[in-house]
Symmetry: C2
Subunit: 597 residues, 2 copies
């Protein structure tokens, strides 16, 4: 049975020492996020994750969700009670506006808590994560009346939220969607169609479910320009806020899938269900992107969260399992064998994972802080810079953190040998659960295209240039310092590869867009490595400062310096291969006719 | 539901055009493997795989095996009847000696057929694969009486075979094993102990099961030098060959595991079971290695086989699924969207997998032919060279083909988007099934250590030097030829990286063995890339020749040249990263104390 210890100290180090969030105290909500309040929140989130959610993770996997003949769905044993506690803890509305009952804290603090919840029980955390996404979409695009009508009970957790995009014949290409919306005289719409892969589309955790549904208003243009967003509740809500009658929608079936068994993945049938337009007609895709971007960061967080818990359990196993002798002198002479952590190849795995985890956490926090600044700062330039960064980092975080997070779960499982393949140890569940994060909310290939096709060229490349300048500025600032010596050379080389790759696209992909598509996934990973390398550089900066100051954390800071060195020695060299692949272009790849495959 | 088309033409091209097996016609069994007989065998194996085994693959996954209270195990619906047909087809003894009832064909032909069986139904193919391994061990180490007693019914498939190594506290480190063997006055032994992870330890497919069990004879030395091999049947066999009474062993439970649900993974309890020593006392590990080496090649084949079927289904889906438009001009204007095979990032995945599959198949066949030559050639030098090559390639095939095979199954699943995560499409089963191949028969980290720690230095490096000389000889031979231009430069560069890495170990790992351990996995993959690159060069040679000759296969040959170019452009560059990692050495990796993890 896996165990979990929430990385509270790592989060505090990143928030306080690396990103110095105290400097944002002038922004709404940040003053309330003082170090001691954050510490209390983190302790509470850690406790809830470790004591309530983690023990339910295997239960959720083993039992799964059950759909009854009448369309009701039962979640696994214990989920209902845990969700009640979760709701009462105020976790769902942690960063929602106070005027609708939220706690108004920075979204950054919400992201931190979510990492803990996901590590402990990803399938469970998806239920609440989707509410937060739906709240964000309604906040951004709903009318004032809609906000007042829907948000308070969603933020309190009494009602859940979902996002309904995919249909059987279309996922990535939403322009093909067929779900229909017919206007009614009272201003509402009747929604008819089938949606698939709806996480939490039906469940027994909340008294109502607020579905956000993409549909095409009768007569609207074909393609993506004719898609609108609707709010469609499971149970209609009376003007006084009380629940009315059942709406015309139901869960037709739930999917049997590779993992996240504790979360009900539903086929949703809308059969003339009553819905209300959110935002402008035919601008639904735009509105849904607010929810998608929230969700993409949350999915990136899933990659990190599973890498973290898989790492913790692999490390514990490697310290305990006695097998074989060290290649160097035996270190534990009185035992029949040494713990396998003496073996370099086992350490290679553990170091590889930990060299990702803290930098990935830093990257998520950097993006989350940028998100908060983009929404809360007064200075328009600060908002714009933050929004640029957030937009640039979103596909990188979603695509890279989930690809590497999955690979890390697989490697952590490998540390267990044959025992890793057996269900009772829980390691194989992490692999199965982590796998979905590479797929949903836009498969990682789509993230790579978003980065290369949209984000790079947006506003004349403003966001990417700012990113390059920031990393370069950091390298220049610390160029002469002894403490930074092992790190800055490799980081500069990899940044050079990223610049070269960007230039190659500029020179080649305009004439032949396939060149961009052919290099997009490599570019995303090249970008991710540079971003993670920059995070390590920032961590080294903060750790070096702490070491100079002395204090209790000396060992933890030295461990960071070693881990950062491992990253630059073993992971950063991969950027050269990504560049070589990008430069290979699309010609060979596109040469074969489809029937040759 | 996945489909499967056995790659018969690829196999024939490799056997006839690349490896020209006709030149071995003077070796026992090879004369019978004429092109037309091989063609007939392949067609038969293909048909059986496609029509009988493939339809049972999902059934096996869904139903799994059931252990009853009395210790009996029931395999999934349809397995019994399929196994009966499989046995009657003579597949189990395809390359076993005719004197014990086998068909006496080259092991190479057996390997080819096994690839098809595994692709179609890996869990099923494991039952027969282990019989073949047990037969090999008894052939190599059993007495004549034992061979006559056990082999005919194993080769006919009436009895199965298993290998029993792992115990709860030891897997990789067999020196720790505790199962006891007490000598009896009649020359037999009483075996007592618990073995875990025994594939096919109990089943309802055969009337008897011949377990090969590692145990320690009372009073034998501790460690690996006190381990002996025993043959321990489920049901004792009377001198006349009829079945006698039940032996003192039983299946205590079966594991719930990530995949290969159709194969019963058993905890086996030996409770004073009667067994007979195979080979010399205290030399059991040596004898078991015969079976292990067979098994390691078979496991490498599993990596390829799942990569192949996952590829086929992903390619079919990519040709059919309409989603989005080509970045270049739309190619199918009258459809609402283009098939996703127009997208470079989808092609990147498909090309990556196919650029592995045929070269991996070539590598397996090269090793299998070497195995046949090492057993069947008259010339001692030819035997030795072949044995060297086989020994060198075994860990590479096991480790690299299963790592990449799994990664390919994951990528093929990705082509399906959300549908890949749903059980009914079958793609997620390939991922779960493929995962075990990286673990069992020596986890891949152990393969890497075998390569670096044993195989490299053996006989003064004779095997690896011969490999280098062969690849170099090929490069020199074709250096001036236009047709080889795109391939030889990258191959030479990667071979240079491999030589540099080998030299680095020679200069650094003697003084500090941890340097070898720290670089072992990277070395194994570096070796694998060079070996696959060499296979592509050989394929290019044969395809170019066929193209010059003209004929019906022009398109298939051109496809090979394109695929080979993709391999050298996109995969071979990775060798530079492996070299960089190897040269980084062990220092950073070994720096942290165990408690820092």
């Amino acid at each position: 049975m896996p165990t979990y210890n929430a990385p509270v100290k790592s989060v505090q180090f990143l928030l306080n020492d690396v990103f110095n969030i105290a400097r944002y105290a002038n922004l709404p909500g940040f003053a309330e996020a003082s170090p001691d309040i954050v510490a209390a929140i983190l302790e509470e989130a850690a406790k809830f994750s470790q004591e309530v959610l983690a023990p339910l993770n295997r239960v959720g996997d083993t039992e799964g969700c059950i759909r009854h003949d009448d369309g009701r769905v039962t979640t696994p044993t214990g989920f209902r009670e845990a969700y009640r506690q979760f709701r009462e803890g105020g976790w769902i509305g942690i960063s929602a506006p106070a005027e609708y009952g939220g706690q108004g804290l920075p979204a950054t603090i919400g992201a931190v808590a979510n990492e803990f919840f996901i590590s402990a029980n990803m399938a469970f955390a998806m239920y609440s994560g989707l509410v937060q996404g739906a709240v964000a979409a309604l906040l951004a695009h709903g009318s004032d009346a809609q906000k007042r009508h829907w948000l308070p009970k969603m933020i309190s957790g009494e009602w859940a939220g979902t996002m309904n995009l995919t249909e059987p014949h279309c996922g990535t290409d939403l322009g093909l969607l067929r779900t229909k919306a017919v206007p009614q005289t009272d201003g509402s719409y009747r929604i008819t169609g089938t949606k698939i892969f709806i996480s939490g589309g039906e469940q027994d955790l909340t008294e109502n479910i607020v579905h956000l549904v993409l549909a095409r208003i009768e007569g609207a243009p074909a393609g993506t320009k004719g898609i609108s967003l609707f709010v469609v509740p499971k149970i209609r809500v009376n003007p006084d806020g009380s629940l009315g009658e059942r709406n015309g929608l139901s869960c037709g079936s739930i999917e049997h899938k590779m993992g996240i068994h504790g979360n009900a993945t539903c086929v949703m049938n809308y059969d003339g269900a009553t819905g209300w337009l959110v935002g402008e007609a035919n601008r639904g895709l735009n509105a849904m992107f607010t929810m998608m971007n929230e969700a993409r960061l949350a999915v990136g967080l899933q990659g990190l969260a599973l890498s973290e818990i898989a790492y913790q359990n692999a490390a514990a196993y490697a310290r305990e399992r006695l097998q074989g002798r060290a290649l160097s002198a035996p270190r534990t002479g009185d035992r029949p064998a040494d713990p396998i952590i003496v073996h370099p190849d086992v350490r290679r795995i553990l170091m590889t994972i930990r060299a990702f985890n803290e930098a990935a956490r830093a990257l998520v926090l950097w993006a989350a802080i940028s998100g908060d600044v983009s929404h809360r700062a007064d200075d328009p330039r600060a908002r714009q810079e933050a929004e640029d960064r957030m937009g640039l980092l979103t596909p990188v975080i979603k695509g890279v953190l989930t690809d590497i997070g999955f690979a890390n779960a697989v490697q952590a499982q490998q540390v267990f040998g044959g025992h890793g393949y057996i269900a009772e140890h829980g390691m194989e569940q992490f692999v199965r659960d982590a796998r979905i994060a590479m797929i949903y909310e836009g498969a990682n290939g789509v993230q790579a295209l978003d980065l290369v096709g949209r984000k790079l060229g947006k506003d004349g490349g403003r966001a990417v240039m700012a990113f390059f300048a920031e990393v370069e500025g950091f390298i220049k600032e610390h160029a002469g310092e002894e403490a930074f010596k092992p790190y800055l050379g490799p980081l500069a080389a990899s940044l050079g590869h990223l610049r070269d790759a960007t230039l190659w696209f500029m020179q080649n992909a305009v004439a032949k867009p396939d060149h961009a598509g052919a290099g997009s996934t490599d570019y995303m990973h090249l970008f991710g490595l540079v971003a993670l390398g920059y995070m390590w550089a920032r961590i080294v900066e903060a750790a070096t400062k702490k070491l100079k100051e002395g204090g209790a954390d000396t060992d933890a800071m030295k461990t960071r310096l070693t881990t950062a060195r491992f990253f630059v020695e073993r992971m950063l060299p991969e950027t050269a291969v990504h560049l070589a692949r990008i430069r290979a272009g699309a010609d060979t790849m596109m040469e074969l006719p489809a029937e040759a495959f």
